[in-house]
């Protein structure tokens, strides 16, 4: 294990009107370079909070997080986030949205033509070569999410952070984009952390699935190794014994051992 991403005793406490709210505690996780890890759990279990900690968008109340040997202090382009609601800037074209990121990371180091090439290539990678100069409001939700992924990938991040990035899409579009993401991640060998509540998505894409207990004071319940060979194929896996078993394991964790309390 080369401990590319390292989370040690991370703890997150929010100050609320009703006093302290412990969202996360005792989180310990090591992630290898090139590993695809998903975090799954019921809503409110703090999985997005955990992702935000790695992104550096929030600071932990206790413990420490490291990325590539350095302590995480604040957000940075080495940990690119694909946001839940795509977060494209509506006044910039798809190309300009990606270019903004490329320019930030590679600007000053490479000539302009190179930067443009990078942005174009990133959009082509997600299958949007034809819509480069469209504005975000002219394209569908699935396409927007692709631009979001292209923007993140264009920065060549050390870690790709995906925050329920397909949550707002319909099932068919989501399946299609999952396949696409599977292809891209396999070909690039990216290290990725994905927050999801979709069991199939987690099993299909991940090398390991981190299953969270319910909040408050949520922590890692179990970690499931997904030793399915890559490249993976959705249709072939649908009836694969291992796949069905793994899927069942996740479901059992979520609905037997850590069933969501009815209050929420």
């Amino acid at each position: 294990m080369n401990k590319y991403v390292q989370i040690e005793n991370a703890q997150m406490i929010f100050e609320t009107k009703n006093g302290k709210f412990v969202a996360l505690k005792d989180i310990n996780l090591l992630i290898d370079q090139g590993e695809f890890v998903s975090i799954i759990g019921h809503s409110g279990c703090g999985k997005s909070t955990l992702l935000n900690l790695v992104a550096g968008l929030i600071d932990p109340s206790g413990g420490a997080l490291f990325c590539a040997g350095r302590e995480i202090a604040g957000p940075g382009p080495d940990r690119a986030v694909v946001f839940q609601n795509h977060s494209l800037l509506p006044w910039l074209s798809c190309f300009d949205n990606v270019y903004l990121a490329v320019e930030r990371v590679f600007g000053g180091k490479e000539p302009k033509a190179n930067l443009k090439k990078r942005a174009t290539e990133a959009l082509e990678l997600v299958g949007l070569g034809h819509a480069i100069h469209k504005m975000p409001h002219e394209i569908s939700g699935g396409m927007k999410q692709r631009v979001g992924i292209a923007r993140a990938l264009s920065m060549q991040p050390k870690v790709l952070l995906l925050d329920e990035h397909f949550g707002a899409l319909d099932a068919l579009t989501r399946a299609h984009l999952q396949d696409e993401l599977l292809r891209i991640v396999t070909s690039l060998g990216s290290t990725a952390i994905m927050v999801t509540h979709d069991v199939d998505e987690a099993v299909l894409l991940s090398d390991r699935i981190v299953m969270m207990t319910n909040g408050p004071s949520a922590t890692i319940g179990e970690i499931l190794d997904v030793k399915l060979p890559r490249p993976r194929d959705r249709l072939a896996l649908a009836e694969d014994r291992d796949y069905v078993h793994l899927r069942g394991e996740v479901l059992k964790f979520l609905y037997e051992r850590h069933k969501k309390k009815e209050a929420a």
């Binding site: 968008l57 957000p75 382009p77 946001f83 509506p90 006044w91 903004l100 990121a101």
Partner: protein
């Protein structure tokens, strides 16, 4: 079987056909011709219907309102005997606008000069206010420290009546002309500061998170995220400001004198030319409306 009845059968529509058009139909292929003719006529009828509906729903109420206003005005004028009615005012306006740009020395110039002079004052005062107010709004919105610094002053000064600033202007600037501009400036700056600042705080957190993840420089955050996101709010502020500026100009000019629509009103009052005062009221209203509509049009271009 007549052509008319074929039409009815095909289209299933009850459009009455004018007799003349029926006669003009060549009888070779009556069925085919009838179909196309009906379709185009159907479209025409629909268009007429749409236009009529537009008039009934949109234009009629406005026309009715204006007519009612004129009637009440005419009745009041007749009652009082001193207030000129719409007819007299109209005649006077026609005369006035037949030569809007004459120049008989400093105290007797055409109405066009007076309007332009007022617009110039508003333009300078409002322009300076925008130049200072908008950047100030950005700073106040972006940095909580400056917001804390500025908000008590803004809350205190904003409700002050615009004309209360005039003596200060006269004292400091010594002259009437810059003092009037000062009044426009100080009264039109607040909506721009406040709306811009509010706009900055309303920028979606998602966009700011993008900025944080990308580690954008403050300049890039401003040009790529803050400015475009705040633009609609800013335009609202600008629109409110120009409204205030135009509102204040008449009063300011009445007090400072010189040239301009406000001074002209006062001058005509001294001449007891009431028709001209009423005309001035309409001019102020119409110019204000045009300014507002122009800015609305401009603001529409910045919506996403």
């Amino acid at each position: 079987m007549s052509v008319v009845s074929i039409k009815k059968n095909i289209s299933g529509d009850e459009i009455p056909m004018p007799a003349s058009s029926v006669k003009e139909q060549p009888m070779k292929q009556p069925q085919e011709m009838a179909t196309t003719k009906t379709a185009s006529e159907k479209a025409t009828v629909q268009r007429i219907k749409a236009v009529t509906e537009f008039f009934v729903r949109r234009v009629m109420p406005s026309v009715l309102g204006v007519v009612l206003f004129l009637v009440i005005w005419a009745l009041l004028a007749k009652q009082s005997g001193e207030l000129p009615g719409p007819d007299k005012t109209w005649a006077s306006a026609v005369e006035l606008f037949s030569d809007p740009f004459y120049d008989n020395g400093p105290n007797d110039k055409g109405i066009g000069w007076n309007i332009l002079s007022s617009l110039e004052r508003v333009g300078i005062g409002f322009g300076l206010a925008a130049l200072i107010g908008i950047p100030l709004g950005f700073v106040i919105g972006r940095f909580a420290f400056f917001s804390g610094m500025a908000s008590p002053i803004i809350s205190l000064l904003r409700p002050v009546s615009p004309l209360a600033w005039l003596p200060i202007g006269l004292l400091v600037l010594k002259e009437a002309q810059p003092a009037a501009i000062w009044v426009i400036f100080i009264s039109s700056i607040w909506p721009m500061i406040i709306n811009t600042a509010v706009g900055v705080t309303k920028v979606p957190q998602d966009y700011m998170n993008v900025a944080r993840v990308l580690n954008l420089s403050e300049w890039k955050i401003f040009t790529r995220i803050l400015f475009p996101a705040v633009l609609p709010y800013m335009m609202t502020g600008v629109r409110l400001s120009i409204g205030v500026a135009w509102l204040v100009i008449v009063a300011a000019e009445m007090l400072t004198g010189g040239m301009g629509i406000g001074f002209w009103v006062w001058d005509e009052w001294n001449n007891l030319n009431v028709e001209h005062i009423i005309i001035a009221i309409f001019i102020v209203g119409i110019v204000g409306l045009l300014l507002e509509q122009g800015l609305l049009l401009l603001a529409k271009r910045f919506e996403y």
